[in-house]
């Protein structure tokens, strides 16, 4: 290979062949593609944040909700208890069955007797 000018000539031909011909005119405007790509990227990021926030709220709600269903929590929160939870003793009737006093004497532990709620029975009630 011949040195010097031949190599210079080769290099000049090669590099000049790489130059764009004709040289492009200046483009002074916003690239729609890049701005569109930027907008799409931003909306994706926002969507992901919204999804993460929704999932977080879901977990928070599921964690908080069971705490509100305990009895203590209900009374504190003003939620009325079921009717059977706190039963009051009804007042006794004035006319009692003769055997009732004995039964109560024999069974002092009874707080109340079912027969207290029974109507007074009298033989005269059997007359037609």
């Amino acid at each position: 290979m011949q040195p010097g000018d031949d190599l210079d000539g080769l290099l000049r031909k090669f590099f000049k062949s790489q130059l764009p011909q004709p040289w492009p005119a200046p483009q002074a405007r916003v690239s729609v593609t890049s701005s569109k790509r930027y907008a799409v990227g931003r909306s994706l990021v926002r969507g992901r944040w919204a999804l993460a926030a929704s999932v977080a709220l879901l977990f928070l709600g599921s964690w908080l909700l069971p705490n509100r269903l305990t009895p203590d929590a209900q009374s504190e929160n003003g939620i009325s208890a079921p009717p059977f939870a706190d039963r009051q003793v009804l007042p006794k009737r004035s006319k009692q069955h003769p055997g009732k006093a004995n039964e109560k004497r024999n069974n002092p532990g009874l707080g109340f007797d079912e027969r207290d709620f029974l109507p007074d029975f009298d033989e005269s009630d059997l007359r037609f």
Partner: protein, 181 residues
């Protein structure tokens, strides 16, 4: 008496002047990085697009040439990441096939073959050497102009240019390039 042009027109005129002065050397630096003319053109146009946005926003650039070269180098480096994602392990230049619209004359084929061998050797050289070679042989820059653009002294440019040419000659000879088109 000449009226003062409106600011928008003046801005546009300044932009076009900067483009005329520096677009080729911006292209040359991008080309030296990638050895691909199309990629270098994309990087050059993106660089000037960013310059236009800066000017539109009213920002003042004290040294436009240095700003352009810095942005071009950064974009060229960023291109490597996106190029890997797009092309995988294939370097960009292998994706540019020869667009044969018909049978090429023998002379053109020989020239393309020689250019392909030269490109292969150039790609193995350091990027800094490719920058000097591109500025010298594509744009016909003198040693002093190259030194000013690359912020090195003229002696260093001369020495690196000589060493690069010597390395090129040796490698082309080793590849059997005996006759230059």
């Amino acid at each position: 008496m000449n009226a003062t042009p409106p600011p928008a027109d003046a801005k546009r005129a300044d932009f076009e002047l900067l483009y005329e002065r520096h677009s080729r050397e911006v292209w040359a630096l991008a080309y030296a990085r990638w050895m691909n003319a199309d990629t270098a053109l994309d990087i050059m146009q993106e660089t000037f697009l960013r310059l236009w946005k800066q000017m539109e926003s009213g920002e003042i650039i004290l040294n436009p040439r240095a700003w352009l070269l810095r942005v071009a180098r950064n974009l060229a480096e960023d291109h490597s990441k996106s190029a890997f994602r797009r092309n995988g392990t294939h370097p960009p230049h292998t994706m540019n096939g020869v667009q044969a619209q018909g049978p090429l004359p023998l002379e053109s084929l020989e020239r393309e073959e020689t250019f392909a061998q030269l490109r292969g050797v150039l790609e193995q050289m350091p990027k800094a050497d490719r920058e000097i070679l591109t500025l010298r042989y594509a744009l016909d820059y003198e040693t002093g102009e190259i030194a000013e653009l690359l912020s090195i002294n003229a002696t260093a440019v001369h020495m690196r240019l000589s060493r690069a040419r010597q390395r090129l000659a040796e490698r082309l000879k080793a590849q059997g390039v005996v006759q230059l088109p």
